[in-house]
Symmetry: C2
Subunit: 603 residues, 2 copies
């Protein structure tokens, strides 16, 4: 979603801001901007561009060097992507400059109440807020900090703000509610960032900011105040990100790199969750909490929700605990009737997904136990849940998630295995061995790129739509495969339960419509083949993704045999590569599909 | 799906068969055929055509008059639609002629075991079966009936068969397993039909045939035998269909007629479920069974499953019983962990949906209570469930379901209301009054056709894809609205939870993509409007369907205010009409979309 980076210190701000915005680029954006202020508060320089950051770079590089500034990448929620809607926004007099993540719900009311005379330049809620700050400074004769405080008291909604007041060129202001915000702390400098990644190359020391808090930063000081104006003391933590993980090396796109990293990621998960004796292990408190529960509720959005569907099968079949999987944004406002002892699992690569956090806040209010499975230590969902399990798959930069999906499933497999042991349920297979075989099988698939590229070119060129079908676990993979293809190739793709296609949607099948069937489960293989046959009878261009031992002549994609419950970890890999090549063939930006954000931090 | 009609009697067979096939046309088909045999067994006449039945009509009308024959409409499962794949199929010598609904699972094995020397003309499993019959007749010197029996013993799968043996021109044979089959009984004639509608204009007396039974029919006799060869005696029942209901009157399409019938259908449901005192009432056994259950599982496919989602909200909110909704074809092979006292509700317009029946068979084996809500009295799902509630909306002929969807929801609303009374839960509204208001509101919407046609033309012309979004109940309606548009206009449409769109799928939004938001629920209205705004910022052509009291300026479609829990009954109506006009504008056959079947009687 939108990204924020601010800097105040002894070095040049512009390099830090441009680097930071580039680091945030992967989160998805449609415009970007930077405001630089020099030490006498006289020469504020504002730069905004629509589109890629490269354009902004040239202008900012030529700018005068200053020691402070704020920058922003924007993903449009209100108003179209445009230079005028891009951040930073300034107050009418030019005194205040603000960047903002989140959504201000009462901006129409604020406008009516305070800004009847102000001529706004943009359609954004942010410009309203910065003018409300100026309104209070002018009408009530307040200094910048007090005016900001007063504005925060009337603003409703979600926000991470970074503010510059030209009259106090030795300090930055920030505030947070619901949207992520951290303070990066270094020697003789401080940063304001929406994600530690934005300034990870200059510091790994970060200070959490909580909802309702306001911060004042100078070169060497960070003052945090709560809503009542009390100062809060809080130590920094060390961010686990490694700046070296962030490059894409010789790969043309992060997505391809991340697809290739999956076998190693699975092996790393096995290692990270091994004890000294080489046995899989999970924090015993988590196991105890799950054992005490009568139903597991898995909450996720997009790809994470699809991983949750596979988790449902794992926990139901290996642990005998009923599981429900819910779309976070639906659960938040239409909570189903819960059982007496629910246990919640939140899946989120970034740990910042606003829709999921909305649910977690309610779950915490109800006093239920929760577990966040995430890639980012110290993320909001991790901090606020009862327990956390990390994916250990390394930073995922491409917007389209790949290794986080397989990582989530692998961590849930480990969890289900350890829980089964604790329950005294004897599994008839060894999870470590089977996960190792999965990693090997993934390697075979990623080595088969040319073949997969050929298939992608052959079936996806010039089509408007496509379908993935399967049953059970194969259906869940079909949902994820369809989302992947859709989000980066813009081919409208749906994942369908094989048996459900004929109840309406089969009318869309015409000559050449690609229909890909995932067939890894013995009980339903014949049925899915029957469903595929029905589409072929209507002209579909069919592809079968199946497993050794179940293949028939003419099946195009055959993965090595793995345990049927873990098959989704492998069958999904060819679908990731098919999506990648479909996008590449269409000359699209694989890593940064239009309209999309990496971490969706608004609801 | 496929349709069967056979006739033996004193009148001309060809008129009965052609009428019957036309009655079955609405079920969806891609080819059709008829076989007529005269009384000396000499002059069998076989006619097959791809496409509409009109073409077949001309040929058959010119045929010699006979007193027996069998006919078939085919919906391709194995092999493309073509004349050679159309039914009836004949054995190599021409002696046996067979029509078949269902899927023979072991036809490859049968071919290998018995037909090594036979040169098959088609790709169908049916031709294999008719030749297996001939094989037994020839190699074991059996009469036709015994050869048929022997073939039935080796055939695996689902079937409804009607068979003619040229050597016994005074009788027809039939057999059934899993696929629907009925015997129509009249004075001096009998019919074999897959659906009572096929011969409703000549008789309303029908005899059920059960799985594993075989039937021999002459002009005046019906002999039913079970697998062990024992004769079964069974009385006919009176079918509730009225032949007069089946015309479309002055309407250009059945779908439009059926959309218009919805207000009357809701009123009829209120009446049918009223007791003498005008109070809503439901069979007390059903109420007791639901009260005793700890979780309701609603099973459906396609539109019925979407109605189930609304049912979930009704039962959870009005009765406090947790509900799960499942896609029938998924549930059948991946049954979730059930609670101790589950209660099953099956939703099926036709009562013949094979995917749902597959589940019901398992539920019966497990010994759980079940309720079928269906439009067709005496249908398979009705007969086999513990209880039945009828929709009373009259026959639905258009393939795209409209009044059955609203009827299912209305019957569930009545059920939830009566159950709440029994539970001693005092509702804060009167269900009868609110349903009456719904009927009035529906009338307002169907009277607004010109306006809806304008909107459809404006947003759907020349687009490849579209989206409906909403949250909660509005999401469920969005799923149904998307399916309706998709199945008859072939525009690839998805129904999305408003909050979920940004987790990937929003990358498909481009200039002019239609995004329609359903907004009838106060708690989530602002959020859905925010989600719609996100798509508009990316160029989407947006339409709001909302309710009086919640509308904003520029909202295009505003339905009269109704109770929020019943809003789906009304918000869905404009989406049905939008789909209708999108299909009409594209010059498509609204009532018979390609590839689709009305009642899906294969898995």
């Amino acid at each position: 979603m939108c990204g924020i980076v601010g800097y105040i210190g002894n070095n040049s701000a512009k390099e830090v801001l441009l680097n930071g915005l580039e680091r945030l680029e992967y989160r998805g954006y449609d415009s970007a901007g930077i405001y630089l202020l020099n030490q006498d508060g006289q020469f504020g320089q504002l730069y905004k561009e629509q589109g890629r950051i490269a354009a902004l770079n040239d202008k900012v590089n030529a700018a005068e060097t200053t020691n402070m500034g704020i920058g922003h990448t924007r993903w449009a929620t209100h108003g179209v992507p445009s230079v005028s809607n891009a951040h930073p926004h300034q107050s009418a007099s030019g005194r205040f400059t603000l960047v903002h993540n989140g959504v201000i719900e009462n901006y129409q009311e604020l406008k009516a109440d305070y800004l009847a005379d102000v001529d706004l330049q943009s359609e954004t809620d942010t410009e309203v807020v910065v003018n409300v700050i100026e309104h209070f400074a002018q009408t009530e004769n307040l200094d910048g900090k007090e005016a900001f405080k007063k504005a925060l008291a009337v603003v409703e909604g979600s926000y991470a703000f970074a503010l510059i007041d030209n009259q106090t060129p030795d300090r930055l202001y920030a505030a947070k509610n619901k949207s992520p915000l951290l303070i990066g702390h270094g020697e003789d400098f401080n940063t304001i960032v929406s994600d530690a990644m934005a300034s990870i190359d200059i510091t790994n020391q970060y200070i959490e900011i909580h909802d309702g808090e306001m911060v004042t930063l100078t070169n060497d000081e960070v003052v945090i105040e709560n809503r009542d104006g009390q100062e809060i003391s809080r130590d920094p933590y060390t961010a686990a990100l490694d700046a070296n993980d962030l490059g894409k090396g010789t790969y043309p796109y992060y997505m391809l790199k991340e697809i290739d990293e999956q076998p190693a990621a699975i092996r790393r998960i096995i290692q990270e969750y091994q004890d000294d004796q080489g046995q899989l292990t999970i924090d015993s408190e988590i196991i105890a909490a799950m054992q005490a529960s009568d139903r597991i509720y898995i909450i996720g959005a997009g790809t994470s929700m699809h991983a949750g569907l596979v988790g449902q099968a794992l926990f139901e079949q290996l642990n005998g605990i009923p599981v429900e999987v819910h779309v976070a944004s639906e659960f938040a406002y239409n909570m189903p009737l819960l059982t007496e002892k629910p246990f919640f699992i939140f899946l989120s690569q970034s740990g910042e997904t606003a829709d999921s956090r909305q649910v977690l806040v309610q779950v915490n209010e109800l006093g239920y136990d929760s577990l966040t499975i995430t890639n980012v230590k110290g993320s909001t969902l991790s901090r606020e849940a009862s327990y956390t399990l990390l994916l250990h798959v390394g930073p995922e930069i491409a917007v389209a998630s790949t290794k986080a999906y397989t990582g989530q499933i692998a961590v849930m497999a480990v969890l289900a295995d350890v829980l089964a042991n604790a329950q005294g349920r004897k599994l008839d297979f060894d999870m470590e061995t089977e996960l190792s075989l999965v990693a090997n099988a993934m390697e075979t698939v990623v080595d088969d790129k040319d073949h997969l590229h050929e298939i992608a070119t052959q079936i996806f060129t010039d089509v408007r739509n496509a379908f993935y079908i399967g049953r059970g676990l194969d259906y869940y993979v079909s949902c994820e495969a369809a989302l992947k293809l859709k989000e980066i190739s813009y081919i409208q793709t749906e994942g369908f339960a094989g048996g459900e296609l004929k109840h309406g949607t089969i009318s869309l099948i015409e000559d050449g419509t690609p229909v890909l069937a995932v067939i890894s489960q013995k009980d339903t293989a014949a049925h899915t083949r029957g469903n595929l046959e029905e589409t072929r009878a209507r002209g579909a261009n069919t592809v079968v993704i199946t497993m050794e031992g179940m293949e028939r002549q003419d099946d195009q994609i055959v993965i090595p045999a793995v345990h049927s419950l873990l098959a989704p970890l492998v069958t999904v890999v060819p679908t990731q590569l098919l999506a990648y090549y479909a996008s590449l063939d269409r000359d699209l930006d694989v890593d940064k599909p239009r309209n999309l954000a990496k971490a969706v931090t608004v609801e």
